[in-house]
């Protein structure tokens, strides 16, 4: 697949299964990578997961086209956690990015309507899913 070749230039495949590819992508490149993905015709973001592994926050985008699952893992440093929004290209990521932001304390740069989703608006304290 052309897209996979393109992504290999920007990141590294760390797992490959039937109908599934898992990439690690540096967080600075996520804007460019998402543009390649979008241009290739994958327009569905099924989920965005986040995991605090102690050293950094791993943001994992799960993109879907029919039975093909493209998973892009983006490690974001814990101290200056911010990442470019993908909602401009994938409007379906709107809520997922809000949840990621409040639960793991990642600032989403360029999100059209930042704010809380599940937590109360005046919530102060450590993001609940940070370890």
């Amino acid at each position: 697949m052309k897209l996979i070749e393109e992504l290999k230039k920007n990141g590294k495949v760390y797992k490959e299964e039937k109908n599934e590819v898992w990439f690690i992508i540096p967080y600075k490149k996520i804007g460019d990578v998402m543009k390649h993905v979008f241009d290739s015709g994958i327009i569905r973001v099924s989920s965005i997961s986040g995991y605090d592994n102690g050293k950094e926050i791993e943001v994992i985008y799960h993109l879907v086209k029919e039975n093909f699952l493209l998973n892009l893992k983006v490690p974001v440093p814990k101290d200056s956690s911010e990442i470019q929004t993908i909602t401009d290209m994938f409007p379906g990521a709107f809520l997922l990015e809000k949840e990621l932001s409040e639960m793991l304390g990642i600032k989403i740069i360029g999100h059209p309507k930042p704010g809380k989703l599940f937590l109360p608006e005046d919530f102060k304290g450590k993001p609940p899913l940070r370890k």
């Binding site: 327009i43 569905r44 989920s47 799960h62 998973n71 409007p91 379906g92 450590k126 609940p128 899913l129």
Partner: protein
Amino acid sequence: MHDMMIPFGPAHPALPEPVHLKLFLEGEEVKDVDFSVGYNHKGIERTLEEMDFSKSIFMTGRICGICSSAHSTCFTQGIEKLLDVEIPQKAKIIRTIVFELERLTSHLLWLGMLGHEIGFDTLFMLCFREREYVLDSLELITGKRIVHDINIIGGVRRDIPPEMIKKVNKNLGILKDKVDYLQTLIKKDPLIKKRTVGIGNIDKDDVEKLCLVGPVARASGVPYDIRRTDKYLIYDDLNFKIVTQKDGDSFARAIVRVQEMFESIRLTRQALTLIKPGLIRNKPAMTFTEKEAISRVEAPRGELIYYIRSNTTNKPARVKIRTPTYANLMCLNKVLVGNNLADVPVSLASLDPCLCCTDRVTVVREGKEEIIKLEDLHGHH
């Protein structure tokens, strides 16, 4: 500026579940919508991190009362991927049967709610009466009417003996005639048509852009169904069609769900014929390593997706759940804007929102995070 803002919810006439909508009106027409969720936090994602894998399946089954087996099948399937274990064919068949019966209960419940929304309470009563045939069958198979808990790691909990097959088939036969009647009623009744045709439209482009799922997507002509794309369980061996409609309004969504009920009856009957004597469980060695897996199923409301990560302990390191209603919340703007205020409950109900599923994440009390123990959960229902 808009003329008026009407707060709709969290407790409101459309749903028994809490969601807060801010409806901005000009006259009677809805011009803009803002929504907030989170009234139903149960803290499940974090709770799962504190639980054994073997116990946590039962926890996921309790995320939602109507899509219980969708959640537990999806989670179990993910765990089996982490453990690299193949389940026996018979277990797959039994899971499929429970899954499809659950879809039937969910769609019947939804149709009843639609009837209730438009003031047609007879339809509500009819749907809930017919739903008993499915609940009886589920009780027969799993021992429970709701929250079936049929899945365990490596297979299922209970077998289906031959005499049970006969009883379930009989129930399905009666149910098919009843659903047939409901379909005629919906297609012919002028009241239902007046309240649903042309109300709450979503077009195909929006479905794809906003990543909508399930019957909402299919009613707008997008044949997105995980049963067909992923071919999980035994769906590849069964013959079924993906019901789609073109119009994308509340009526089309009703038709999609009613016709899906016929497909579910067909699927269950086919699956019942495939049952042969055999094992229902392969007991795997519960040794976990650092791994991650993604698991998808087609829940009654659409694509349900779990991201599961394990470490060397027997508890998950992270579980992220994206439920179908969560994805479909994105279309509230499209569905409600341009409608009359009086049509809001019907349009909202036509999406079949399930907020139990949507609100689950983490419990936060007095600004401090709190890890919930099982004992606490027993105390707080």
